[in-house]
Structures are given as structure tokens and as C-alpha cells.
Symmetry: C3
Subunit: 348 residues, 3 copies
């Protein structure tokens, strides 16, 4: 497929510096792009790749010298514009024909929407519901009475336990487990008695869930992931956690039971949150941060235990000088001893 | 199903403040409960939910003003009592009829107990053993000569490799992998040579293993999880690790090879333990703690590297004041300089 | 099977202190070994096990008193020598006959090599390629156009998405997901728009990938794992990451997108690396280390944020004394106050 640069610029609503008639045949990274391809620069760190790129056009918001041998598409959000261009060239990633593989196990009283795709060896238990145009790929398991909305993509080898509710346009990557029992035990003085986990999980519209993520069902009520939130690989979400809308959870994050996140919260990779706390809207937790108490909205925290980021940075800087200051203290001690002695001498 | 509050109180051996004849028809959390339902309060943090709950009865150990519009079931362990009540209303969670799905692959010389359930597309390799009333759900894999005890529940898409031994009443959640090769390599100066992992894994009775947990087989001998221990999601247990009885491992914990845990050890979420150390009975490691050496029994540690918790807390408090103390040191330096000058002047 | 100790010593090129004619019938750990078995001692920590071992021979590089009742095979790399001995006694671990299970789903235009093993319920999508003697075990999924080399072992329930390229002699453990979408979104001011991930993953020869590992495909170009690198369980590798040759990634490591590792890099368990940085050859990152910027070759770092290890150790030592030094500062302040007063008095 080919498109002129002019067509592309128009579709992403960018500003063109260069020849609108250039033919573009594909997309690639700055280092890999060939003549005829379009690329992008979002992270200024990679600005020097511009000198060597063979791309015919680059989408960016950076100032570019106009002597460079490619067209520039100026756009305030190059990532976003680029993702739109990628979709122009690769309109549909997964080819999921509307068909039910003969090896799929279909329980009783299913509700299957129009144009669903059910892959080989997928298992749908009784009374499960699958919405229009949703694909459940090979080897995935949909438990009893679970309900999946429209236009979802469930990759191979996903496990969705019983009574889980999933909205529309949800993507779930391979190996994810949704609705496993929450980790709830009562110690009777000798052994840990299991507390039955009879709640469920609700995943709202437009959520994406990474590979090998685990989201536990609530003991009572629901564990909930809000509309538009995106969850990276190997994240753990405990029972009764509530995640607001449009949150970003980077890989290997862990969230303890009953913790609540507001909207637009960002948790860096490997960050951990204890249970039973509240995280306000637009909070950002740095990578590996350990959050031990509730955080008010619009706060940036980092470190363990997590502190406001500017304090954590100051502390970190202080720490670097700690051995130096310990030497200083030792010297000051000696100097004070000498001063004391001198003063004593004088007094005599 | 309905039960009177009197019957419930009797069955959990609690003390009733209220009307024994009230009919209870279900269980729910304080916030979700409706008239006719029973709830519980274990964490004092949620005490103010009592003011608005619509529950007809609440199990708790907290002091409750007697003006509130619900019956109170006083119990020293409300979590435990509540879990018993849940079991009254939801006697069996998983409906696993005694049947072998026609698509299950049955190897040679299997030993299958009475009333076993083998799900669709489960694979049992040669000489595997499955105890009475055990359920192996859809898509799970049981390797050659592996032996699973009685009354176990193996959720969908679990992988149990060869020669693994699993006791009775064990629950294994979806995506868990038991008996993968230990991470053992010998560097020959150029490349890492694989050390064959010919040991196995032993899981004792009453263990619960979370979703997407990984437990590696030993190079030699056995990796072992002791009776009654409970393992949360995404935990990693290295080869030849030995976990004592009734331990609690919260999500995303990692334990290096050959480390040994005593009984009743609790590891907080994301805690990491290096290999080849010993952790005494009843040790508690805080969330994200990094344990680099052996810990004597009955010790609480936290932080990285893990220190005794009261030291770690003191250190943490000191740290908060570090920038302040650095300012003090700078001021003290100046003051001493001035004192020195003054003293010199005087000497003249 | 039996071998004389002399044969064993010759095959591992060790130096024998003892009787070459002793018959050896198996291998075991020092504590478990019985008469007639050979064991090894690599970690000096376990030296006192020598006193009680029943092994007939021990491979080690340690100095051993010659009064002990077993033969000693001296070798500079006891781990390596031992792994060779294990292979003598257990020549082939997995019995994978050259056969395609009748339940395997075979897509169109596959290229299957000689003596391949395809397990029950494995799914090979159209145009996948499987090299000679490679085994794809039960329930694994190989996506469209993915290409697996020769002599690979893909354990049960692995998911390999489309267009992934895997070299020769690669081992992939159960539950691993290779080629899931990278975590790429562009915020449009309201919601997070998905950036299509149209790149792939390349795994070079002799790589081993642990259970439940996740390796994301690149947005553009390739995520790459270099020849001979070994990846432990539950590791996360972000999109466009490049890992050099012969690296060691211990369990639960996480690597942010586009980060590049040189050769012979070692990442300790639970270490985290942010995206877009470069880690030089032979760098070692301590367990739980948090790496926030690029690291030059041959550096050892630890802690959060990761510092050069000797600095981190010094800092850690200083930290232990911090509460003490804070007391000192308070005392110094008082003493200086007193000195000032005395001096003032004198001045009068």
C-alpha cells in the first residue's frame, strides 16, 4: 500500500515541512527506516539518530534544522500521530474470521454474539456470554456465567474464571488469569483457614491487560479495573482492589487487597502498594516505589517507603554525601575537644 | 437458603447481641450488604462503615455502641467466623462432577482414584496418579509419574511437570508452573553450561498455590513446600528451596535457590530472599524487603538490605531528617570556625 | 548404569585423590548421597557437610583434609564438572519421540523439519516453521509465520505469537509468552491510544527462557535476546529491548522498553532497569537493584537507585550508624553552645 505524505499529514492533522507528493509505503523506527518509509521522534534522547536515518519523513515535535534530507511532519504528540499512521498501513493486526473452531468446547446456554471467533481448544463453560465480533483465541478458558463484551480480543491461553464481567474493546494478552481466588485466610491459632472468595472481577471498556497478569476475584463484591486503564505484563492485582479510569500500571506492579486508585494514576514498573489505602487522581508512583499509606491527588512519590518525589530526590542527594558528612562530624568532634582544652588552659 | 442468626451464632461459637430469630439469607461486605445479610468487621480502619451499613448482623471483635440498627456477633477472630458463615451459605464453590471429559488425554498406566474429575483437553502423561475426588480442570498438564493426592483442585491451564509429588487438599490456581527446571548453569569461561535439574518438587497437604506461581524442581533432591503453607500469585520459588509448615508468601515474593524457611514464616509482597540462607520460625519480612543473610526465629525485618524492623523504622525516621542534619553540620562547622577565630584573637 | 571413578575423572578432566576403581552408580547432593554415589562441593558455605556425607566421591576445588572417607575429584569448576557427570548418568531428560499427536492443529503451509515432536492440543498457525528434532509440547501455541530452529524444547502451555524468530537449541519453559504486544500508548489528552506493535521478537541460539517469562514484541523492529543468554522465571522484557550474548537474568527481573544490554551482563533477582538506557558488557546488577541510568562496562552496581557497589556498601554501612551520628550532632550542638557561653563570659 502506498499513500502520499500529503494524505498522511492530512489524516493526522500535522504540519508539513517538505514535499506533500512523496510516496510513503511503510513505517519503521529511525534506525531501521528505509527510503519511502515514515518514522517518528518523540524522545529527544534519540535526536542524533536523525543524522543517519534513511526515512523519507519524520513525525516530531522537536525543532529540526531544515537542511536534513527528509520531510518533517510537525505534531504536538508524535507518538499519537505515529500510531495513527501505523493504523493506516496495518489496518487490522489480527485476522480473526467469524468462525467457531470445531474443537472448541461449548457449554450449555451460551450467548454468542454475531461474528464471534472461538479458537481451537478454547473452553466456554455453561452460560458464558461472548459479545459481537469478540475473539477468544486457542486454548483460552471462559468460566461459568462469565460475560465478555463486544469487540474484545482474548489471546491464546488466557484463563477467565467464573462470573467475571468484561466490557467492550478489551484486550487480554496470553497467560493472564482473571478471577483467581483472592489471597484470604483466617489464622485459627494453628493453621490458616481459607476464606471463601465469592466475589467477582469487573473489567470495564477499553482496558488492556498484559501477558501473565493476575487479577484476583473479591472475597465479597468486586475487584474492578476502570475504563481505559492499561495494565502491563506480570502485574498482580489483589482482591477487592479498585482501579479508576485511564490508569497506567507498568510491568510487575503489585497492589494489595482493597486498595483504591483514582483516575489517571501511573504506577512505575515493580512498584508495590500495600492493601487498604487510597491513591488519589493523577498520582504518579516511581518505578520500584513502595507505597505504605494513602496518597493525596496530584502527588508524585518515589522510593521505599514512598515519599514525595522532590523530598526523595533531596534525600537521595543527601545520602550520596552521607559518608562525607560522617567524616565531618568526626572532625568537628575533635575540633570541639581541642577548643574545650584550649579554653580550659586559658581559664587556669 | 435461609438460616436464623441463632443458628449462625451457634455454628461459629460467637456471642450474640441482638435477636436470635432474625432470618439471614446471605453474606456481603459492610458497604454492599442489604437487609437480611450478615457482614463482618475485622480491620478497625473500616469501623465508620458501621454507621451506614444495611447489614442485619455484623461479626466483629470491636466494641460497638449498642444503639446501632443491627445485631452484633462478637467473636475473637471475625475473619475466621465469617469464613465459616460463608461456607454455610455457599457450601461448595466449584461444581466438579466425577467425570473424565472425552477429550482428556490419558497416558498409559495411570492410577486414577474414585470420583476424579478430569477436564476438557487436560493431558495426563504416563504413570501419573490422581487421588480420590481430585479435579484437574481444562487444559492442565500433569507430567509423567507425577502424583497428586486426594481432594485437590487444579484450576485450568496449570502445568505440573514430571515426577512432582503433591499431597492432599492442595489447591493450585491457573497458570501456575510446578517443576520447571531450576536455574542452574556452570560458566566454562565462555558460555553458561546447563546443569541438568534431575530433582523434583514436593508439595505437602493443605497448600494453596496462586495464579502464575513458578516453583522450580531441584537440581538434586527436592524443592519442598510444607503442609498448610499458602502462596499468593506470581511468587517465584527457586530450586531446592524448603518452605516449612503454615508459611504465608504474599504476591510476587522471590526466593533464591536452596534457601530454607522455618514454620509460620510470613513474607510480605515483593520481598526477595537470596539463595543459601536460613529463615527461622515465625520470622516476618516486610513488603519489598531484601533479605541478604540468615535470620534467627521470631524476628521482624524490613527494608533493603533487610534489618530488624525497629532498627529499620528508626533508620527511616532518621533518614527523613537527614537533609536537616546536614544543614546543622554545615552550621556547626561555621560556628566552630568562629569560635576558633575568637579564641585566637584572645590569645593574642 | 555404573561407571568407575577413573572413567568419570577422565571424562571431566579432573585430578583424582582416591581409588580409580570405585564403582559409581549415581549422583546426589552432599546430604542426600549414599554409598556408591558421587557429589560435589562448589559453595564453601557447605564445607561442613563433608563431615557427614555418605558419598563415595566428591568433586570440589576446595582444600580437603585427606583423612575423610571418600575420594576427591579436584576440578577448577566443580559445578561444570558435576553437570557433565550428571549427563553421563542421565543422558537424555525428556523422552520426545518423533511424532505429531493426532490432536495437534496444523495450519496451512507449515514447514516441519525431521523428527519433530508436536504434543497433544498444540496449535501451529499457518506458515509456522519448526526445525529438525524440535519438540513443541502439549497445549503450546505457535503463531502465524513464527519460525523455530532445530533441537529446541518448547515445554507445555507456552505461547509464541506471530512472526517470532527462534534459533537453535533454545529451551522455553511452561507458561512463557513470547511476542505479546509491547506496552505502548500515546496519551491524546483524554485517553491512552494504543500504538500498534508491529515488530517482532528474535531469540538467538542456545537461549533458555524460564517459566511464565514475558517478552514483548517491538513496536517497530525487533526485541532481541542474544545467543547463550539465560533467563530465569517471571522475568519481564519490554519492547525493543536488546540483550547481548551470554547474559544471566535472575528471576523477576524487569527491563523497560528499548534498553540495551551488552554481553555477559548479570542481573540479580527482582532487579529493575528503566527504559532507554545502555548497560555495558560484564555489568553486574545486585538483587533488587533499581537502575535509572546507563552503566559503563565492567561495573558492579546495587541498591536503589543503583550505585557502584563499593559506594553502595559504604553508604549502607554509614546508614547503620546514622541514628548514632544524629545523636552526636545533637551533642555537638550543645557543646558548641556551652563553648560560646564560656567564651562570652570570658570576654566580659
Amino acid at each position: 500500500m502506498k499513500k502520499t505524505l500529503g494524505e498522511i499529514v492530512q489524516s493526522v492533522k500535522g504540519e508539513l515541512f517538505g514535499d506533500a507528493s512523496i510516496e510513503i509505503c511503510g513505517v519503521a523506527g529511525l534506525q531501521e527506516a528505509q527510503k519511502g518509509e515514515i518514522s517518528f521522534l518523540a524522545n529527544p534522547k534519540y535526536k542524533n539518530f536523525l543524522k543517519s536515518t534513511r526515512a523519507s519523513a519524520v513525525i516530531t515535535n522537536e525543532k529540526i534544522e531544515n537542511s536534513l534530507p527528509f520531510a518533517v511532519v510537525k505534531h504536538p504528540n508524535p507518538h499519537l500521530a505515529f500510531s495513527q499512521v501505523v493504523k493506516l498501513f496495518y489496518p487490522e493486526r489480527r485476522n480473526c474470521p467469524a468462525e467457531i473452531h470445531p474443537t472448541a468446547i461449548l457449554g450449555k446456554n451460551l450467548k454468542l454474539g454475531q461474528s464471534v471467533h472461538i479458537g481451537a481448544y478454547a473452553v466456554l463453560e455453561n452460560e458464558a456470554q461472548i459479545g459481537d465480533r469478540t475473539a477468544v483465541l486457542s486454548g483460552s478458558f471462559i468460566g461459568e456465567k462469565s460475560k465478555i463484551g463486544e469487540n474484545c480480543l482474548i489471546y491464546p491461553n488466557v484463563t477467565i474464571r467464573e462470573n467475571v464481567i468484561i466490557g467492550n474493546n478489551v484486550i487480554i494478552h496470553s497467560g493472564a488469569v482473571i478471577g483467581s481466588d483472592g489471597f484470604g485466610f483466617a489464622f485459627d491459632g494453628k493453621v490458616h483457614q481459607k476464606i471463601p472468595q465469592i466475589g467477582n472481577v469487573i473489567i470495564e471498556d477499553d482496558v488492556e491487560i498484559g501477558a501473565n497478569v493476575t487479577i484476583d476475584r473479591a472475597a465479597l463484591g468486586s475487584t474492578r479495573v476502570g475504563k481505559g486503564s492499561k495494565i502491563d505484563n506480570l502485574v498482580q492485582i489483589g482482591h477487592s482492589v479498585e482501579i479508576g479510569e485511564n490508569c497506567i500500571l507498568v510491568a510487575q506492579v503489585g497492589i494489595g487487597g482493597s486498595t483504591k486508585l483514582g483516575k489517571y494514576v501511573t504506577l512505575g514498573g515493580q512498584a508495590g502498594l500495600v492493601g487498604h489505602i487510597e491513591i488519589g487522581d493523577k498520582v504518579i508512583v516511581g518505578a520500584q516505589g513502595g507505597v505504605t499509606k494513602s496518597i493525596p491527588p496530584n502527588t508524585v512519590v518515589s522510593g521505599y517507603p514512598a515519599r514525595e518525589h522532590h523530598k526523595a530526590k533531596k534525600l537521595e542527594a543527601s545520602l550520596s554525601f552521607l559518608p562525607l558528612y560522617i567524616e565531618k562530624i568526626k572532625r568537628l568532634e575533635k575540633e570541639i575537644e581541642q577548643l574545650k582544652k584550649k579554653l580550659k588552659k586559658k581559664s587556669k
